[in-house]
């Protein structure tokens, strides 16, 4: 393992703070980013020789600032840049700067950076692309691959996002507590969006690292809002869901349902962290949608086998979620618990009224088909599965429904009773 790997980890982790501070100095995202890139290049040369500095972020901010200032001067005077050792010789300055970078600046700088990414004028696709580029530091190529678009298309998307942000009014003063509260909600929503992009992808695709990035961003947000139960809830939810990653797809890349997953493949470390965060959140007695969703995920994580699942408690939690954040999707998910507790008839009665609002939603028809199958209504099940396939978002989803349909065909052909995967 080379030094470079360690330096890369330091550069990645310093990015939010460094780019945030440089943005505060220069009030321009492109300048801040270029300054950071230049500082990183110099770090990759200097740190293997001298060892990394005690405060990598402070070093990068100092160097980045000097490089950008010198570059601007050079633009005006057409002089060549001073040599590296003049810019990067920081032994004395470093201590002074590190002392000046206190916690309050860090918090606001990072928050400002995050908020820029989820600026209300940006559509979600641009928000995600911008956040992954400037906060997570993924390359344009990596982001393009994750979203199955060409590199230049992604480059354009990011450029468009940056110019929209440049035109919009970005406040550079420190946000007050009310603003901070509003912004956190937008940032949390964006992080959840990134996670879901990764979560819904089929196994082995380039999207799975998005879940890891979302969790890193959630932990970053948690460090900014140490006492916020909803941030604890969000982080816990992502950890508990991602803990199941290794079990969610089989060797052929097909979906494995929760009931059928090999639970020994679940990541116990992530589950432990998720449960610990829920414990902390609960002490605040301030219920919120992320905490409730995390609690539901926790009930699944705690069940050693599907039969051990506390469906009654899950049903109650979904009822709470329906109150906090009513949506047909929540009711649909609740119906799964209701099916376990009161049978498929009751569950079907719950979801049928949702049809007009969920007419474009893959999971609605998948669930409907599964319930009809359980009730022995094969023809209606087949028609529901047919609609599901038409709406499938990924090959894995389509393959999963096709498996139901194939089984249906086989069972109808043999006239036997259907053996159903729940």
């Amino acid at each position: 393992m080379t030094d470079i790997a360690w330096i890369h980890a330091m550069l990645t982790s310093a990015r939010p703070q460094a780019v945030g501070a440089l943005l505060r100095y220069f009030r321009d995202l492109d300048t801040a980013e270029e300054a950071f890139q230049d500082a990183c290049l110099r770090a990759l040369k200097a740190w293997p020789l001298n060892g990394p500095p005690r405060d990598p972020a402070a070093w990068l901010i100092m160097v980045g600032r000097n490089v950008a200032i010198d570059a601007k001067r050079r633009e005006r005077k057409q002089e060549p840049l001073p040599p590296d050792d003049v810019i990067s010789n920081l032994e004395d300055a470093e201590v002074e700067l590190a002392e000046r970078l206190d916690g309050a600046d860090y918090r606001d700088d990072v928050l400002r950076l995050l908020f820029i990414c989820c600026h209300p004028e940006l559509p979600p696709t641009q928000q995600i692309a911008l956040a992954l580029r400037i906060v997570s530091g993924l390359t344009v190529k990596q982001i393009a691959r994750a979203f199955l678009v060409g590199e230049s298309a992604m480059e354009q998307r990011i450029t468009r996002a940056k110019s929209r942000v440049a035109d919009a009014d970005v406040p550079f003063e420190a946000p007050g507590p009310v603003e901070r509260a509003e912004r956190f909600a937008a940032v949390a929503a964006m992080i959840y969006l990134i996670f879901n992009e990764g979560y819904s992808a089929s196994g082995g695709s380039a999207r799975a690292p998005l879940c890891d990035e979302a969790i890193r961003l959630a932990r970053l947000l948690l460090r900014l809002f140490q006492t916020e139960p909803e941030v604890m809830g969000l982080t816990a939810l992502l950890l508990l869901q991602h803990a199941r990653a290794a079990a969610r797809f089989d060797a052929q890349g097909e979906v494995v349902l929760l009931d059928d997953q090999d639970r020994s493949l679940w990541n116990q470390g992530m589950i432990a962290e998720g449960l610990a965060l829920i414990d902390k959140a609960m002490r605040h007695r301030r219920r919120g949608p992320y905490q409730v969703q995390a609690a539901i995920a926790a009930l699944h994580a705690r069940a050693a086998t599907p039969q051990d699942t506390d469906w009654a408690q899950i049903d109650l939690l979904y009822a709470a979620l329906e109150e906090l954040q009513p949506s047909p999707v929540v009711t649909l998910n609740r119906a799964v618990a209701v099916a376990k507790l009161r049978g498929p008839e009751a569950a079907l009665a719950m979801i049928e009224p949702l049809a007009p609002r969920l007419s474009g939603y893959f999971h609605f028809f998948g669930a409907k088909g599964a319930l009809l199958l359980k009730l022995g209504r094969a023809e209606e099940a087949r028609s529901a599965f047919g609609e599901a396939i038409a709406l499938a978002n990924t090959p894995a989803e389509a393959a999963h429904i096709r498996m139901h349909l194939d089984r249906l065909e086989k069972d109808c052909a043999t006239q036997g009773s259907a053996k159903v995967a729940t």
Binding site: A5, S13, R283
Partner: protein, 121 residues
């Protein structure tokens, strides 16, 4: 003599390790633990969850329970080893072995143990 080796590392750097880095460090540390076990020198070892999972009780007239670690520091306490060593120099050597397995960033605080009580776990 028993020494506690307290492991400090910037946890945002640790959480930025690639999966390969993480796997390599874990397996290299495991080898150090195996060696110490063979030498019958290894006591309790713990890896802690990140400080975002920590809660602190501040003692006082009224005990105050707050979210987060005891102190906001640049490097956080991430775990510890209790090791039997002949001398301080030997303990430092052991810390160096750990540092070779887990290079890059962070510090080890080496503090002699005054008393180790029997574990009931």
């Amino acid at each position: 003599m028993l020494y506690a080796i307290l492991c400090y590392n910037p946890e945002d750097v640790v959480s930025s390790w690639s999966k390969e880095q993480h796997a390599t460090v874990m397996s290299d540390l495991a080898m150090v633990r195996e060696k110490l076990t063979k030498e019958r020198r290894l006591g309790p070892v713990a890896r802690l969850l990140p400080t975002t999972a920590a809660t602190t009780l501040r003692k006082g007239r009224e005990n105050l329970v707050i979210d987060g670690p005891f102190a906001e520091t640049k490097e956080q306490l991430l775990g510890f080893y209790i090791v039997e060593c002949q001398s301080l120099d030997a303990a430092i050597e052991t810390a160096k072995e750990l540092a070779r397995a887990n290079p890059g960033s962070g510090s080890y605080e080496i503090r002699p143990v005054a008393q180790l009580h029997q574990s009931s776990l």
